[in-house]
């Protein structure tokens, strides 16, 4: 086995040094009755591993080989070749948590830079080293808000928050005695401000809204902030499409206390949904309640600038059951990818990606709205995703289109059985006008027509 460097001669020598006659002797403390070998097939060579995994990969439609309009929390954005190739470097790939700062300055400085990018994008003071993904990041943000409003037990969530995020909140809350109340969105696709304000009471620790919301509609963070602050609760801003932060007013500027969500679209491949990249940022006065790892700047014994993990007394390895979170890891490699991506695109590129995504979605929205029998049900402004509604159930239509090489959108029926004809369509800088026109033509034709030849030449 090529991953095992011990020769038979080495093994004999090692056993002699240990003072046992066989490796099996070292397992004597495992009761005989629980010892059972694994019933697995014989080992595969590297060629066979490539063949097996290649055959599985070949059976998944993907953004490289389709006209691609899927979103709903995971987006297909430009990633420079260098961002991924840098991740192959062993110093990034095969290192671990930077507990020993003297031999981890690379990781530590990169996290410090990532924290800075998140602060600049959210307009807040402090960001952590990343969290698993968007839904659990929202949970951590809400739990943080609960610590800032001790004794209160409920969170008010806009129904415009990603349904899987809300479901995750319910899972975590179930055991903690917290409840979440959901405020519906209004007819224009925005959270109803009056209903939101009415839902907040003196027992509410957080008010959370998402923008762009699950339906792609741009919300005003201030609606959430005002509703929260009127009753002494904390305002949580949820972002599932992080590219939008380069164009939209940042949560900090619109008085949100905590921003959290999913930063996959800033440099992380879609990975069938994971690994992706959760983030969380807050105001400086709340920094000691932030969950997860944090990197701070300091000095070494010679007075040089250095970085290290800090405020660890909040964390589980020290505080155990009194920790601010049970989280141990962050999303290290994904945070690095995002740091590289944000650094490359920077001030102009992040903005241009946001503007292109928005302009393309606007074009597509207009073209779809012109198709007889089709409409755009929500009138409020959208960023790069919107709900389309056609004359027939969406799921079978989308399946037909998928077979023709067009991944046209995400049906909403799983979350809203009363809206079988509606689906989410997303556009990014990766889409061309030609393929958007192709989508529109296919929708006009009801998803039938010639099978499209999969394209192999996509970026």
């Amino acid at each position: 086995m090529k991953f095992l460097p011990t020769s038979d001669a080495d093994r004999s020598e090692m056993l002699r040094a240990i003072g046992v006659s066989s490796v099996e002797d070292l397992f004597a403390s495992i009761p005989a009755e629980v010892r059972q070998p694994a019933d697995l097939p014989p080992p595969l060579s590297e060629i066979e591993v490539r063949r097996l995994l290649g055959s599985l990969a070949a059976r998944n439609a993907n953004a490289r080989e389709s006209a691609f309009f899927l979103g709903a929390g995971i987006y297909n954005h430009y990633i420079s070749a260098i961002a991924d190739q840098m991740l192959y470097r062993a110093e990034w790939l095969t290192s671990y948590t930077p507990y020993q700062p003297e031999v981890s300055q690379g990781t530590l400085q990169s996290i410090f830079e990532f924290q800075t990018h998140v602060c600049l994008l959210t307009g807040l003071d402090v960001a952590n080293a990343s969290l698993y993904e968007g839904a659990s990041a929202l949970v951590e943000a809400l739990l943080m808000a609960s610590r800032l409003c001790r004794g209160r037990t409920r969170a008010v969530l806009s129904a415009g928050i990603h349904p899987e995020y809300r479901e995750t909140v319910r899972t975590y809350f179930s055991a903690l005695g917290f409840t979440s109340v959901e405020v519906p969105i209004g007819p224009d696709g925005r959270t109803d401000p009056k209903a939101l304000a009415r839902a907040v009471d003196a027992d509410t620790f957080a008010v959370a809204i998402q923008s762009p919301n699950f339906f792609g509609v741009v919300e005003d963070w201030k609606v959430g902030s005002d509703a929260a602050h009127a009753k002494g609760a904390r305002a949580v801003a949820v972002v599932a499409e992080a590219v939008s932060m380069a164009l939209l007013a940042p949560p900090g500027e619109r008085e949100a206390d905590i921003a959290c969500g999913e930063a996959q679209s800033l440099g992380v491949p879609m990975h069938f949904g994971g690994p992706v990249l959760g983030f969380l940022a807050c105001r400086a006065e709340h920094e000691r309640q932030i969950p997860g790892r944090l990197v701070g700047e300091t000095r070494d014994a010679d007075g040089r600038r250095a970085f290290c993990l800090t405020l660890s007394t909040r964390e589980q390895h020290i505080r155990r059951e009194r920790a601010t979170s049970n989280i141990c890891t962050n999303q290290g490699l994904m945070a690095l990818a995002s740091n590289i991506h944000c650094s490359l695109l920077g001030k102009k590129g992040l903005r241009e990606v946001a503007l292109q995504s928005h302009a393309k979605a606007e074009y597509l929205k207009r073209e779809i709205s012109k198709i007889p029998g089709w409409r755009i049900p929500f009138g409020a402004p959208t960023f790069n995703e919107f709900v389309a509604e056609g004359p027939e159930p969406a799921s079978p239509l989308l399946s037909r289109l998928a077979r023709r090489g067009i991944l046209a959108g995400v049906p909403l029926s799983r979350w809203d059985p009363d809206a079988p004809n509606r689906f989410l369509v997303a556009a990014t800088e990766m889409n061309t006008r030609e393929e958007m026109d192709r989508l529109v033509a296919a929708l006009k034709a009801g998803g039938t027509g010639d099978r499209q030849v999969p394209r192999q030449d996509r970026p």
């Binding site: 595969l44 300055q105 999913e262 059951e321 141990c328 999303q331 695109l345």
Partner: protein
Amino acid sequence: MSVSVEEKKGPAPGDRRHPEPLHEPLVFERSGEGKVGYSLPPLDVPETVAIPEVLCRPDLAGETEISEVEVARHFTRLSRLNFSIDQALYPLGSCTMKHNPRVNEEVARLPGFASAHPLAPEEVSQGALELAWRLEKILSELTGLARVTLQPAAGAQGELAGILMVRAALAKTGNPRTTVLIPDSAHGTNPASAHFAGYKVRELKSNARGTLDLHVLEEAMTEDVAALMLTVPNTLGIFENQILDIARIVHGKGGYLYCDGANFNSFVGIAKPGAMGIDVMHMNLHKTFSTPHGGGGPGAGPVAVAESLVPFLPRPTVERRTDGAFSLDHDRPESIGRLRTFLGNFGMFVRALAYISSYGNRIGDVARGAVLNANYIRAGLAGVYHLKYDAPTMHEVVFSDKKQTASGIHAMDIGKRLMDYGFHPPTISFPLIVYGALMIEPTETESKTGLDAFVAAMRKIARESEEDPEIVKTAPHTTPVRRVDEVGAARNLVLRWRP
């Protein structure tokens, strides 16, 4: 054991391996107005901003302007400040820093995985669903447990999922109970996860062997206890040889036996948790199954459960239909719900499946190699470093600094001095029940030559501690930065760059 040590003086102050300067400015400090590091096609639709100005920001003040070549240099230079497995032994106990096969990285980047979307129609995602289904079957076989959820993003989230399932199962009988028992040697995530699952934690004192004391357990195990969270083998690298009695006691009071499977790498393919009476167990794909640690994640923490907990698994589950097609089952009314979006860290599933397939029915060699290597290190350092618990060692061995403290040398100093000899330090000061702990886990992917070099360095440091303690106390001397002021960092918080 005889270890030949090359008798030369170790690296000393001024003996810097890295030429100056090692300092790399922040990427923001490398920024220069007018530089560009990206290119996009020209916009092929009408330019428009159809969002009210009040909801938009004018610009991204403070963000970078930098060319691709400067970004390449910046991140390459930064990377060189990191220690990594590919460099040398990385004996971070409990973390299982083993070689990461590169074919796994390659296959995970196939467009059918990396550029696939979790909400594409199932009929065009069959390969991804089959991969998850296959991995579940394999983990179920390896654990001897009925089913596995792949959803948790990391070990800690797996723990939470496991305890929430226990809670749901007990709640169904009318009483979720109030307490979770956890030995004093456990990972900090165990009590934190139990707390976030709504339980009080009662800590159990370990016995003189370093394992769970049956009398202590019997006394603590009441009908108010939901579960015992047990790490097997425990964080001292010692197998709970009374595991069957432990399971009997826990089950006798209607509780569940939770296994923290962080150390599964020491018995994978050799023994099955299901046969031990374990009801629920998380695994760390980044430990036992070698998905890369990536500087602190992404991890993946699948949870295997016995039949009794299957109804409560997070949703959705992946099912194989009678026609052979794979689909997601969201309709699981007793499920604890979701812990995160989508199926989990799918990219890690790809790597783990590739890894397990490479070993196949020889997967037990992973455990054999890990246990052999840890015992070899133990033999090489016995008598030189204090071993508080001398029960048989599995995949890791925990020494302490007790013999060195007389010269004012602490575990941290020993760890820092190891850096000068080209090794990453072991885990320091954990588990908490060994004062001044040095927790060493070599893993199966370390050669005898590498182990010998590590043992030689540790022996040398022990000698230096007596003969030249100052050089140990002031170590490291050869790293990119010297000891950093961690107290100062926490007192005077600087958590970001400001324009």
